[in-house]
């Protein structure tokens, strides 16, 4: 706290700064840690887990992927069996600092291989035979009362509203904050409280837009930009905006960013390396920027993707839709290291890595361990993982 206050005193936007620690303190008192931000990183298209966290020592890995296996000498070693794709080298620093948790074998029963259906399942935390329409975050925090000075419950910087979709949440999608402000300015204020429920809903949403716009103006004024080398490309841009919001002490429980193009059915190596570079470099820059702003302790980053890919390559030097995959959890409070069993290529299910950890356990970790919600029914009894420090 001290460090933060010190930094603020020197900032040009002292007027806003005075208010924000109060907002953070207020958020902390809400019964759950609304002052903590979860950054959800969607890897859209189905990221290839075996070429992300590579079981390089397993001879079956080379055998299954003669043309697309990552060269052993290029791998960023994590231990004697597993290593990161070379494009993720920038994450090495977080790994060494013990802030990168890698959760392996994340998936679910009766996996669905359709992009649309499977991302629906991940977004809503539903079993594969159940159809839910509200995003999992909305189901967890939707019911809790909103604090006056929260920027929004969720800010979507990339991709669809997915996990934060649904009526219960104040989620704002703003690929470009300036543009959002311009659009919001066109709305007339309305102070009516009509009995007509449809009209009341419209006015409520209108108020939310105006509240968010007001908060956002303050946020942008007190953190004109963040330092750091963010990689070129959409994910780098989104992470820069995310860092800026967090550096400005915006109270926003969820920030969602997304990178697409992981549906690598053909000629995978080049494009996949490029995507992972954006991911690795982007997260490393984000970590640096948020640390510099003194807020890294309030941030947890979590990746997700609709599915992993098949263990064997296909006939076009690519991979087809699979099931389980590893995911990253990054933050000062993450328990660095490998969690969950390494993929067993000798024991595949239908050509896929077996899943060992239900993806809802990641969500339960965010809800209960990170935000401090009591056990919720939202995850069908799936318990948190021991991947965060106390």
């Amino acid at each position: 706290m001290r460090r933060r206050e010190f930094l603020l005193a020197g900032s040009a936007a002292a007027a806003f700064a005075l208010r924000s620690p109060q907002a953070l303190a207020q958020a902390r008192a809400a019964g759950w840690r609304a002052d903590r931000t979860l950054v959800l990183v969607e890897l859209a298209g189905g990221n290839d887990g075996l070429n992300t966290v590579v079981p390089y020592a397993d001879p079956a890995y080379q055998r299954l992927r003669p043309a697309i296996a990552i060269k052993r000498e290029a791998i960023v070693q994590l231990d004697e069996k597993l290593g990161l794709h070379p494009s993720l080298a920038a994450l090495g620093e977080a790994w060494k600092a013990g802030e990168l948790a890698i959760v392996q074998g994340v998936g679910y029963d009766n996996p669905n291989r359709s992009h649309f259906r499977s991302i629906d399942i991940w977004d809503t935390a539903s079993g594969s035979n159940r159809l839910l329409t509200e995003g999992w975050v909305s189901r967890v925090i939707g019911a809790s009362r909103r604090q006056a000075e929260r920027l929004a419950d969720a800010v979507v910087l990339g991709g669809g509203a997915g996990p934060v979709g649904g009526a219960g949440l104040r989620a704002v999608s703003m690929p470009d904050p300036q543009r959002f402000l311009r659009q919001a300015e066109g709305m007339k204020a309305a102070d009516a409280h009509p009995a007509n429920p449809a009209l009341a809903h419209l006015l409520k949403v209108q108020h939310e837009i105006q509240d968010t716009a007001r908060e956002l103006r303050g946020v942008l004024a007190r953190a004109p930009d963040v330092r750091g080398e963010f990689p070129p490309g959409p994910l780098g841009q989104q992470l820069r905006v995310a860092a800026r919001l967090i550096a400005a002490k915006a109270v926003v429980p969820v920030v969602k960013v997304a990178l697409g193009g992981f549906d690598t059915h053909a000629n995978q190596p080049g494009p996949h390396a490029n995507l992972l570079r954006q991911l690795g470099d982007g997260l490393a820059a984000f970590r640096k920027a948020v640390t510099g702003a003194g807020r890294w302790g309030d941030v947890l980053v979590m990746t997700y993707s609709e599915f992993g890919r098949r263990a064997a390559q296909n006939g076009s030097n690519g991979t087809d839709h699979g099931t389980a995959a590893p995911h990253f959890v990054l933050g000062a409070r993450a328990k660095g290291g490998l969690h969950g069993p390494a993929p067993d290529l000798a024991d595949l299910a239908n050509g896929d890595v077996r899943h060992a950890i239900d993806y809802r356990r990641l969500y339960a970790t965010a809800a209960q361990t990170w935000w401090g919600f009591a056990r919720t029914g939202a995850f069908d009894g799936h318990a948190p993982l021991p991947i965060l420090k106390a």
Binding site: E42, A44, G45, S114, H115, F116, R117, D120, L131, T133, G158, G159, G160, A161, A167, R170, A171, V172, S173, P175, F180, Q183, A184, G186, M187, K188, A190, A192, P194, N196, P197, A198, L199, H201, L202, L203, V205, Q206, E208, I209, T212, P234, A258, L259, G260, G261, D263
Partner: protein
Amino acid sequence: MRPVRFALLAALVALPALAAAQAPSASPTLTADDARHLLVRTGFAALPAEIAKFEGLSRAEAVKRILAGARAEAVTPPPAWTREVRDLRPPGRAASPEERRAWQRQRVEEGLELVGWWYREMIATPSPLTERMTLFWHNHFTSAFRKVRAPVLLYRQNATLRQHALGSFAKLVHAMAADPAMIVYLDSLQNRRGFPNENFARELLELFTLGEGQGYTEADIKEAARAFTGWSLERETASYRFRPFLHDGGEKTFMGRTGRFNGTDVIDIVLQQPRVADYIAEKAWREFVSEKPDPAATGRIAGRFRASGYDIKVLLGELLLAPQFWAPENRGRLVRSPVELIVGTLRQFDLPQPDDRILALLGRALGQEPFNPPNVKGWPGGTAWINANTLLVRQQLLRRLTAGEIPAAGRQTAEGEMEAEAPSMTPEERTRRQRALERRMARRLDGADLDAWYAKLDRRWQTPERVTALLVAVKPVNPPRPDSDPARFVRDLVLDPAFQLK
């Protein structure tokens, strides 16, 4: 003069009271406001000329007229390719990458054309109720381009939905079970003897007829799936085909009955469940009357619907004549869907239809892409149409549509801003598209010349009160100043939250 004026005033005050007193006994005749309500709720907009035709009719006459005008076919000629025999199989191994891309691109182009065609029909149709019901059934028996991938199948499904839109619900269910788009959408192709795929069977019970968890078991779903094995299609001609060698002809026990049932038998058994009529009546109530069905009323309406053998006109007639439909407290309490808002605004102000790409992009930004519902449950609708993002886009659209014509100098085609839709949309594309939509709306979307529109209005609508009553169903949140010029007044009305309601 003074006493006369007073007497007149007294008479004016007494009139509504008299009308109210008479209401329960005599069949009330439609006022202009009633006619507007009926037209907007059963269509997309109410134009003064249409209102004039319904004013003064009794409710029964008015509803009868709307139902009698219902069509079973579109008036707008469909794209030529819908009449061709289509092979659904992608280009074979011999095809070059260019040929494959061309094939993909053609599908995407046809998909866009199909969306544009349906909008043209919704705008041009003499029977808006037919299109509203086609949309209603599209949201009930969902199929989506993103899975079906073949525009010709979605066109044919749309034609089938329209054919039965106000016909027999029983026939509609049977038609949908054998509908090629549905067969692809709900994996009936994978439903084979020994390897049943339950997708269609589950939705048949859960979403199409009974409602989630209402009077069926998981075992019923499994048995129904067996009964539908072999319901397939012929890819070469894109048509339904029953494949006997894939069909499980064995004995099934379904909803307490045992026999060697096929899919048709299963549907017949389901349609004998009384719950079906209730489920459909409740859903139609939410579409036409209010967000909260009145169980006594829907129970009664469902009874008539059931007794009629699932005649959809009977269902709608009952709904539209229910006192709750006309009740003042239910007016202006439903949110206009994106399609209703777009079509309604274009119809109301006689605006040219935007190009197909704008419509497709708008649908995505507003949360309702025709031929692409989000999942098998369809669009949730109601107040869920409105969130921070969709409300901003709605306002942006309406601002553009009321901003007057685009001067010729500003009119240019923004080349390369929109490419054909890729098989799965990436987040970057989504962002890019949102920007492309804004650019296109700014450059290509003509707005109404509101002065000219107002000048052409029938004289009796040319007062602040009447034009307000014409355009919005409830009192505006920010009533425009009565002394503002007409164009400004109308624009403020359209941008008022009240305009989002029906």
